[in-house]
């Protein structure tokens, strides 16, 4: 009945974890790219390349955190990137147009994102919309609102809002002891969320709710409250992605995060968070995101036609999810007799 605490036992338990498989997959990928790059007379396994990879993770890492928590709780949020883009536009307007200090601008942007999160949550909990439909409609509405918002000062033309600010410039591109500031914040957030989901009662409740909202409710877990909180977290994390995007460009861009509607979700699923909820953790989500970005950058370095990279990314996802699906089917089958 007791856990096996011997070294061998621990090692065995480790190898059975999904994250172990993911890390192995990642290492194999790095080796393949390294060898491939050498064959093409270029280098993959270098500090600048990995700094570049880490930098590329920053904006989407926040989306992944939000989407990952929400997915563990059994929901998804297709409005996250639109909300984040809206946040980035509000931040730019607050600094450029309203003359707010940079930190107030960020807080205002994140608060607005939180409001959208609450609306998402109420659609799901009160009106009983499937999250897929509710947040998809929300995505379109928020995007439209962002265009309208950006056109307010210009007499009707939607446009990017530019600004100059030393502090946000540092947030976007500064570094401490050679490590990009964004990367530091990202790592801190992953640690906080990792602990939150795996060690606290909040994380345990969210995971159990994701496994079965009905059973959790009947066992006294406030599923409605948790759901609202999760949608707010998803929206605010979208907003934080928007904030870093905005700080990097010194611009509230109309095109901000437009390609990221599914990025957080994809990374989370690739990282072993089950699409049905109730399974997975933040460590996996991080490795999932790492795999996605390393794959794309690696493909670029070895010289694969960028038009093909997107296709291969799709194939990567298909293989990863296919393996997961087969494992699930095998498990379901072994349970059925």
């Amino acid at each position: 009945m007791k856990k096996d605490t011997s070294f061998k036992g621990k090692l065995k338990a480790l190898t059975q974890k999904k994250i172990f498989t993911l890390i192995c997959l990642y290492i194999v990928m790095v080796i393949i790219f390294s060898v491939w790059a050498e064959l093409r007379h270029t280098h993959f396994l270098t500090v600048p390349v990995f700094k570049n990879i880490l930098n590329s993770l920053v904006v989407t890492s926040f989306l992944t955190l939000g989407a990952g928590c929400l997915l563990i709780g059994g929901y998804l949020d297709l409005a996250q990137s639109s909300i984040g883009a809206f946040g980035s536009m509000v931040m730019a307007a607050a600094i450029a147009g309203w003359g707010f200090p940079w930190y107030i601008a960020i807080i205002v942007a994140l608060l607005l994102c939180a409001v959208f999160g609450v609306i998402n949550a109420l659609m799901v909990t009160k009106l009983h919309f499937p999250a897929f439909i509710g947040t998809m409609a929300m995505a379109s509405m928020v995007k439209g609102l962002m265009y309208l918002f950006s056109s307010m000062g210009t007499g009707g033309t939607a446009q990017n809002i530019n600004f100059n600010n030393k502090a946000t410039e540092f947030i976007g591109s500064g570094d401490i002891l050679g490590i990009p500031f964004g990367v530091i914040v990202m790592v801190i957030f992953f640690i906080i969320f990792g602990i939150l989901m795996s060690k606290t009662s909040f994380g345990m409740k969210v995971t159990l709710m994701g496994g079965s909202p009905v059973a959790a409710t009947l066992a006294g877990i406030n599923a409605e409250g948790l759901t609202i909180l999760l949608f707010v977290i998803s929206a605010v994390m979208g907003g934080l992605g928007g904030v870093f995007n905005c700080a990097r460009l010194s611009q509230g861009a109309l095109q901000a995060l437009t390609t990221n509607q599914f990025t957080g979700l994809t990374a989370a699923i690739l990282g072993g968070i089950s699409f049905g909820g109730g399974v997975g953790g933040m460590g996996g989500a991080f490795v999932g995101l790492l795999i996605l970005n390393t794959f794309q950058i690696g493909m670029g370095i070895v010289g694969v036609n960028p038009l093909w990279v997107t296709v291969f990314s799709g194939i990567l996802l298909l293989i990863a999810l296919g393996l997961d699906f087969l494992a699930m089917q095998r498990r379901a089958k072994s349970l059925s007799h």
């Binding site: 009945m1 345990m204 409740k205 159990l208 496994g211 079965s212 009905v214 059973a215 409710t217 066992a219």
Partner: protein, 506 residues
């Protein structure tokens, strides 16, 4: 017509498990054969082999004396075999007619247009033959569970199946609906079909079967003639030991004076002026037909559904629960009707499922101490004798009986102070041996002073276990019976009085 089915030396191995071993028996035309055994004895595997879903590792199936190999469910259908599973295999958004004739829809001329008129006429003929009141064009999903079951039966009948196997067909049905279903089986018998009937309910087995095959741990233990055996003998053979008469061996306790639960004039959209009491140490049976409002009453007390008016008193104080959380904190526990969907988080461990209502209790400072959850789970495993190698096993991998024990263990752990335990169909689909264990545990809990509200559709169970029976009908209480007056007849009279009147009018 008039076919026989024979299993000869059937065995089935899965990696690491011998699910079936040398099973031999024969079903004759016009006979009903019961397949009896505890959960995990191999009944489902045998049915899967019969339906062509799985292939046996050894042995052969003989239809009319000829060895037959089924490579797919389609082959089994073609050989005249239908297996009706517990989970009905119907298309809920399609009509009754389309479901019955699926795969053989009549067409105009050579097709491709559907001959709707003929389809509905043929369906109507079948419905009349079984004496039912169903519209052929009605969506199957909108029928009652019992009528959905009848659609399955008609489907098998339409296919001209000569051999039909039923897997616990009466589990979701009320007594009256069971009657309807038995009439259907009787008609099939008369037509010379050979029938295999899987059920845990002894009274049904004695009523409709001719022969009984008992499986235990995949082995074929015995074949007996129904007329020449007794319930006690069957149970002994099935469990492998003499557990005696399940009910008379229970160690019981006398209820105390103290009122734990008092419901006064409770109203919800589905309940009308429901009032009753449960005392400390008392087991109150809540009986009634399916849809009589028993589950609704339980959910209203537990604050899972809102109430329109009325009062609920717990331990002498009026309650104003806003959510199940409030109810749990006040000492109310509910084991819901559908344990897989509502009771358990299936793909989580035993430990997590026991900790489900007490996550806050596990906190040490900011973080959750899973060791505390482990201790709670270890205790539940030993208290209830849950059969598992480790508390980290997923509950989805446990048998139904062990799953139910996990839920019971959850509500009787040291972390919750349960005063009122509401059990909604706690023994549904659970084998005899485990049922007896659960009965004893419920009695033990009552002797510890816990008030128990016991909802069950199985009459024998309520009558024998409860100190008092409250009967519901159409959302109201139709009467109360003390233990001494609790007979099947009395309970049924109270449960169906209105139905009888309705029929008298019609």
């Amino acid at each position: 017509m008039a076919k026989t089915l024979e299993f000869r030396g059937i065995g089935k191995s899965y990696p690491g498990v011998r699910a079936l071993d040398n099973v031999n028996f024969k079903v004759e035309s016009g006979k009903v054969l019961a397949l009896l055994g505890e959960n995990g004895a191999g009944k489902s595997t045998l049915l899967k082999i019969l339906s062509g879903d799985q292939k046996p590792t050894d042995g052969e199936i003989l239809v009319d004396g000829k060895p037959t190999v089924f490579n797919s469910p389609h082959d089994a259908h073609a050989a005249g075999i239908s297996v009706i599973y517990q989970e009905r295999q119907l298309m809920p958004s399609m009509s009754v007619a389309e479901n019955i004739f699926a795969g053989a829809i009549p067409v105009k001329g050579k097709g491709p247009m559907v001959d709707w008129k003929k389809l509905y006429e043929e369906t109507k003929k079948l419905i009349d033959f079984f004496g039912l009141d169903i519209d052929p064009s009605e969506q199957v999903g909108r029928l009652s569970i019992a009528n959905q079951q009848m659609v399955e039966i008609m489907k098998a009948y339409r296919r001209n199946s000569d051999i039909i196997a039923y897997d616990e067909p009466t589990a979701p049905l009320s007594e009256k609906e069971i009657e309807l279903m038995f009439q259907g089986i009787e008609k099939q018998k008369q037509r010379g079909m050979a029938i295999i009937y899987v059920s845990h309910r002894m009274n049904e087995i004695f009523r409709i079967t001719d022969e009984i095959v008992i499986l235990k741990d995949g082995k074929h233990v015995a074949t007996m003639e129904t007329a020449k055996t007794t319930e006690a003998e069957l149970i002994t053979k099935m469990v492998g030991r003499d557990i005696g008469d399940t009910y008379s061996n229970l160690r019981r306790n006398t209820p105390k004076e103290e009122v734990v639960l008092e419901v006064k004039n409770l109203n919800t959209p589905k309940l009308h002026n429901v009032s009753f009491q449960v005392h400390a140490g008392e087991i109150v049976g809540l009986a009634g037909l399916v849809g009589a409002g028993r589950t609704e009453t339980a959910r209203a007390i537990f604050a899972a559904d809102p109430i329109t008016s009325g009062e609920i008193w717990l331990g002498g104080k009026q309650t104003h629960f806003k959510s199940p959380r409030d109810a749990i904190d006040a000492g109310v526990a509910l084991c819901p009707e559908d344990r897989k969907e509502q009771g358990l988080v299936m793909y989580r461990s035993i430990s997590d499922n026991i900790a489900l209502p007490v996550v806050e209790y596990l906190k040490k400072g900011l973080f959750v101490d899973r060791g505390i959850a482990g201790d709670l789970a270890d205790k539940a495993v030993s208290d209830y004798d849950i059969k598992t190698p480790t508390i980290m096993k997923l509950v989805a991998e446990l048998s139904g009986g062990n799953q139910q024990k996990v839920i019971l263990g959850r509500w009787t752990s040291d972390a919750v102070k349960t005063k009122l335990l509401i059990l909604d169909e706690p023994t549904k689909g659970i084998d005899v041996g485990t049922k007896a264990e659960i009965y004893q545990k419920v009695c033990d809990l009552a002797s510890e002073g816990i008030a128990v509200l016991f909802i069950s559709s199985e009459l024998t169970e309520v009558i024998n276990l409860a100190d008092r029976i409250v009967v519901m009908r159409g959302g109201s209480i139709s009467g109360e019976l003390p233990r001494a007056e609790a007979t099947e007849e009395n309970v049924l009279t109270l449960a169906m009085a209105d139905e009888a009147k309705k029929e008298a009018k019609a």
